[in-house]
Each structure stands twice: as C-alpha cells, then as structure tokens.
C-alpha cells in the first residue's frame, strides 16, 4: 500500500516521504559540487597565484624561491610577449568581427518564415558542435596548397595559406569565423525574434524606410543579445589555442595561449607561466567588465 502511495507523489515529496529533508537534499547535491569546485578550481587558482611569485620549475626538484614581482616585470618588459599579445589582439578583432558580421547577417536572412527553416537552422549550427581539433585538421586539409579544395575552388593555384606568414593568422581566423558564426547567429536570432512584430508595423505606418527601421529599431533592440555574443566570443578568442596550434606553427600565429603553453610545458618555466596566465586572466576580466558595463547601459534603455 505504501509503495503505491509513494509513487503518486512528485519526486521531491517522495524523497521527503523517504525521510530526506530539504536540508539533506541540498547537502547531498551542493556540498559535493562545492568541494569539487574548491579542489579543482579555486585551490589551483590560488596555488598558481602563489607560484607566479616564485622561480618554480615543475621539471626540477629544486625548491621554489620567492622572487616577488620579478616574473611580472620580466613578462611585461619582454617585447616577444608584447608581440604575442599583438597577434592575439589582431586575431580577436578579425575573427570576432567576422563572426559578428557573418552571424548577424545570416540571422537577418533567417528571421522570416520559410519552408524547412528549422532544418536549415540546425544544419547551420553544425560547425559549432564539432571538436576544435577536428575542425583544425580538416581546414588544414582544405587549405592545402597542392590539393586543398579552397585553392581549387577559388582558382588560386598553389597559394599557401598556412605557411605564408602574412596570411596564416587570417586563414586561422577564417576557420574560427566558419566555426563560431553560428553561435552569433543563434543569439542574434533569439534577439531578432524577440523584437515585437507590431513595432515593425508601427514603423511602416510612421513611414520609416527599411534602412531607418533597421538602424533605429532592429539594431538597438537586438544590441543586448549582440553584446552577449560579443562578450562570449571575445573571451573565447582571446584564450584560443587549439586552432592556431593545430593549423599553423608560424610565429605570426603564435597567440598568447600558445606562448603560455610553450613556456609552461616546453620550457618548464612554471612560475613565469603562472604569472603570464594571471596577466591573461586580468586582461580577460578587464575586457569582459567593459562589455558588461556597456551591456547594462544598453539594457537600461
């Protein structure tokens, strides 16, 4: 009898009937999560902060010596690091800029009713769901100077995309645009479909041209969504490692994350790389904060 009665209850009260209080449920689910976060996120974060003030090398058993801010000073006065930052900035601007334009453009095209819209949208989202490593390897094939399809399709002969120091970064950025434009498209579509249809009718009645309607109504109302896409993509692009690492070994594609990887796991300068990681973290937080401030201003309207 009791089992039948229990099954009729919804899950939480069933648990309650079994003698689990809300407190127990909370503890069972939340305490492991918090412990996990502390062990794998917060503890390493603080530990590496400590390392960033030492000359510790993970490859040597010698004890770490405290060196104060020496690591930070060294990094910030190193022209090579600045070069890496410049490359990263260029990469972020080109790839995020491209994604915003392509993604929002496609969203504008998709923002109407047509047959097989759902299927079409899903197919367009596919690149975003692939593994970075796979995308990198495939695009390397596509870019191949002797038999890659891109040169064939564009009739560029034996143009070398990835070993050409001037072109390599843009080639990687194009791949990144291909992969992540769907993400911007998805958020833009959500933003566009949230603009009430009657506002467009009102604008038509008010005799606004389509361009005027787009700049004065569509764009301002989608702006918060576009900014969110921009924040996410900027953060990701700033940290990006896989695509440039897999696709090109050029110094012109050595973004800051690759530099960090080399410093930490090839040169084993653990303390120094921790300091660089912290500099990156601070830059990302700073950029994000600027965006979020702007986002709040846009949202207030």
């Amino acid at each position: 009898m009791t089992t039948i009665a229990l099954e009729r209850l919804d899950p939480s009260s069933r648990a309650a009937a079994r003698g689990w209080s809300d407190l127990t449920i909370r503890n069972v689910f939340i305490i492991p999560t918090i412990v996990f976060l502390i062990v794998f996120n917060i503890f390493p974060l603080l530990y590496s902060l400590g390392y960033s003030f030492t000359d510790f090398r993970a490859s040597v058993s010698a004890p770490a010596n405290f060196v104060g801010l020496d690591n930070y000073k060294r990094l910030l006065s190193d022209p090579n690091i600045w070069r890496n930052f410049t490359v990263t900035a260029k990469y972020v601007i080109v790839s995020v800029g491209g994604q915003m334009i392509v993604g929002f453009g496609i969203a504008l095209l998709l923002n109407r009713a047509f047959p097989f819209k759902g299927l079409f949208t899903t197919l367009l989202l596919l690149p975003m769901m692939m593994s970075m490593a796979v995308v990198g390897l495939f695009w390397k094939l596509l870019y191949d100077p002797s038999w890659g399809i891109i040169n064939y399709a564009l009739g560029l002969g034996r143009f070398d995309w990835l070993s050409n120091p001037d072109m390599a970064l843009y080639a990687v950025a194009i791949t990144d645009i291909w992969m992540w434009s769907p993400f911007v498209m998805l958020l833009s579509l959500a933003g566009l479909s949230a603009v009430p249809k009657h506002l467009y009718e009102a604008a038509a009645i008010d005799r606004a041209s389509s361009w005027y309607t787009f700049t004065r109504i569509t764009l301002p109302l989608v702006a918060p969504m576009l900014l969110i896409a921009l924040i996410f993509r900027t953060m990701e692009a700033f940290k990006s490692f896989d695509l440039p690492f897999i696709m090109s070994g050029q110094p012109t594609t050595e973004v800051i994350a690759i530099r960090l990887y080399k410093m930490a796991f090839q040169e084993w300068q653990t303390g120094l790389s921790c300091a660089l990681a912290y500099i990156m973290l601070i830059v990302v937080i700073a950029i994000t904060n600027i965006y979020i401030k702007y986002l709040n201003r846009v949202k207030e309207r």
Binding site: E201, A202, I205, R216
Partner: protein, 369 residues
C-alpha cells in the same frame, strides 16, 4: 480633406472569409466606429485600410485614389495600435518625433511639432521618460501623439483604450472625443464595446462574421436596429427578444407571447404595418428594450399581471426579470420600485419602443408606431 471608400472588399484567411462584400464610404472629418464581436473582421478591415493587411478582391480608395497596392508608408495614414506599440528604447519625445525624423524633417520643425502635440495631449512633462515608466493612459496618449504629429490624412485606431482599466477608459474616451473635436480629422475607430461606440461615433458601422450589418448614427442603430444581431449587440442591458404572435381583438391588436394568458395591447395599425413590412404570420419576434417595458405596482387599464423573478439592483435603477408566459422579459425600473422577488406587478409594452423581426432572416420589419 480625406474621403475613404471601400468597394466590394473581400478578404480570406485560408478558407475562412473574414471580410464579405464590404462597401463603405467614410466622409471627410467623420468619426466612424466599427463595432462588432471579436473575430467579426473589423480589425482586419481597419488594417486593410492602413495597408498592414492585403485584400483579395475589391478596391480601397483614399481621396478617390486606389490604394490597395500601396504600402502602408505610401498611404499617409496614422494608426494607433491596441498594444500601443511604442518604441521601448526611445523616450516619449523620440517616439513622437519618430515619424518626422523618419521622413527627414528639419530639427526645428520636429521640435515645434512634437511640443505642440505634447501640449494638446497634456504629456509635455513626460517627454524625457521612457514608455516603460508610463501609466497605460499616458502610453496611449503618446501613441496618439505619435499618430497625430505628422497630420496624417486619416487616423485609424484599433481598440486604442481596450487595454486600460474601466475608469481610465472612460477618461480617455472623453479625451479622444475632445481631440477629435479640436483636430477634426477623419477617424476610424475599432471597438467591441458598444458604449464606447455610442459615445464617440458620428456613424457606427456594425459588423458580424465579416458582414456589414448596419451603418448609421448612434441614434439610428439604437432606435432602429436593422436586424436581430444589431438589436442585441447595441444597448445595455440587452434588448428583450421574445417569440410572439399578433392577434386582432376588438379595436386593438394584441401581441401574445406563448403561454401567456393575455396579449399586450398595441394600436390597431400594427397589423397593417407588419403586413407592409413583409411579415409572414408566424416566425415573428418582438424586440423591446428594458426601458420599453413599463411596470406598475397596481392594476391599470391595458396592463397585464405578471410575477417579478429576479431583481438586479444597479444603484441608479433596477433590472427586473418578469415571467411572461414561458419567456422572461427584462424591465428597467426606478431603484427599489419592486421590493422583492415573487411580487405581482402589472406590465405593458410601450408600442413606440417595440421592434418586430422576422425570426428566420433576422431582418427588422421596420415597424414604427
């Protein structure tokens, strides 16, 4: 000077015909109210005039020019939406200025026009606010301001005060009337509220299921409804409609409701008028508004004794349900006139206020006594 004309307009949504053979002429400066239940096609008609909806057949003419192929922007008509449709990211000032800015007028000209409209609508202190910080009534004022600011050929309003609460609705109703008298532009106003229609309209256009039922001044549609639908849609409380038979007795006519012992006394010429109206003997319906049912507490000549069933006290007056034969008639009396249900009272029907309809077609027989 704006003159709008609809000629044989037909509109389908898939299989459903939402506007059927619509013919209507709207004169310059007229305040037309389109009245009907939801889904009767009145909003679709309005949107078709504005250019927000296409029509399948017929012509829409504005000032003699065929416009059904023109875009909304090229018809120079303003529209006030039920949902207000204010631009949420713009201030009140920017909202009202939008139609002027969109057509690239000079800054000084825009400023002058916006401030003038804001003064007329008494929203000058709100110009810097955003729509989200406004009350419903103020939002509607802004929406009307945005419509008026560019002096359109005609002003179309789709249930503009339907979303407001009752008290505000009454206030805005007066205000819209005042505005129309001040500005005097051709106005087409859609509503399902017959009180609003009566209060505002120069002429009321009543629609049902896509078909135009009657066009006329508020008095005309109230006093001489063209059919059963109009009779029951206009007026509150609703007109009594009762099955009835007319008999001749002595020097009078008697209108007998089924199951009643006696009939109501009518002048003898009713018989001739009914015949002239095309009555076919049976299938006759008597329509009488509650104020046309006269109630007395004591026996009187020509009054029938009946029993009061339900009494609804409404403050200024009471509505009383009276059992006549197998049917109920609702009467309007002074407040507290009949003290309690079950009371016996004497009633008569005022022949001047009686209507007769053909039950089958619903058509009024046009009897006026």
């Amino acid at each position: 000077m704006t003159h709008i004309e609809l000629r044989d307009v037909q509109k389908f949504f898939g299989e459903v015909q939402v506007i059927k053979d619509m013919n209507l002429v709207i004169e310059d400066n007229e305040f037309i109210v389109m009245l009907g239940p939801s889904g009767c096609g009145k909003t679709t008609t309005l949107r078709a005039v504005a250019g927000l909806e296409t029509i399948d057949e017929g012509d829409i003419l504005i000032d003699g020019k065929v416009v059904q192929h023109l875009k909304a922007a090229d018809r120079d008509i303003a529209f006030v939406f039920q949902s207000f449709s204010l631009y949420p990211h713009m201030t009140v000032y920017e909202n009202i200025a939008f139609p002027l800015r969109a057509t690239g007028q000079s800054r000084a000209e825009i400023d002058r026009a916006v401030r003038q409209v804001a003064d007329v609508l008494r929203i000058a202190p709100l110009l810097k606010r955003r729509p989200s910080a406004l009350s419903g009534g103020d939002m509607q004022r802004v929406a009307i301001g945005r419509a008026l600011v560019r002096s359109p050929k005609a002003l179309l309003m789709d249930e503009p005060i339907g979303a407001l609460d009752a008290k505000l609705r009454e206030e805005m109703r007066t205000e819209i009337k005042r505005l129309h008298m001040q500005q005097g532009s051709t106005t087409v106003y859609v509503t399902h509220d017959q009180v609003e229609a009566m209060a505002l309209a120069d002429r009321i256009v009543i629609m049902n299921e896509g078909v135009l039922q009657q066009v006329g001044s508020p008095d005309e549609v109230y006093l001489h409804p063209a059919n059963l639908f109009v009779a029951q849609f206009v007026g509150s409380p609703v007109m009594n409609i009762a099955e009835a038979q007319v008999a001749e007795a002595d020097s009078e006519a008697r209108v007998v409701m089924p199951g009643a012992a006696e009939g109501f006394v009518f002048p003898r010429n009713l018989l001739g008028r009914l015949e002239a109206g095309g009555a076919k003997g049976d299938g006759l319906a008597l329509g009488i508004r509650p104020e046309g049912v006269l109630v007395e507490r004591e026996r009187r000549e020509g009054y029938l004794p009946v029993e009061a069933h339900i009494i609804e006290p409404l403050g200024s007056h009471d509505i009383i349900d009276l059992q006549v034969g197998t049917q109920m008639l609702r009467a309007r009396t002074k407040a507290g006139f009949v003290p309690r249900p079950g009371e016996k009272v004497w009633v008569r029907i005022d022949p001047a206020q009686a209507h007769f309809f053909d039950v089958e077609s619903g058509r009024s027989l046009g009897v006026r006594l």
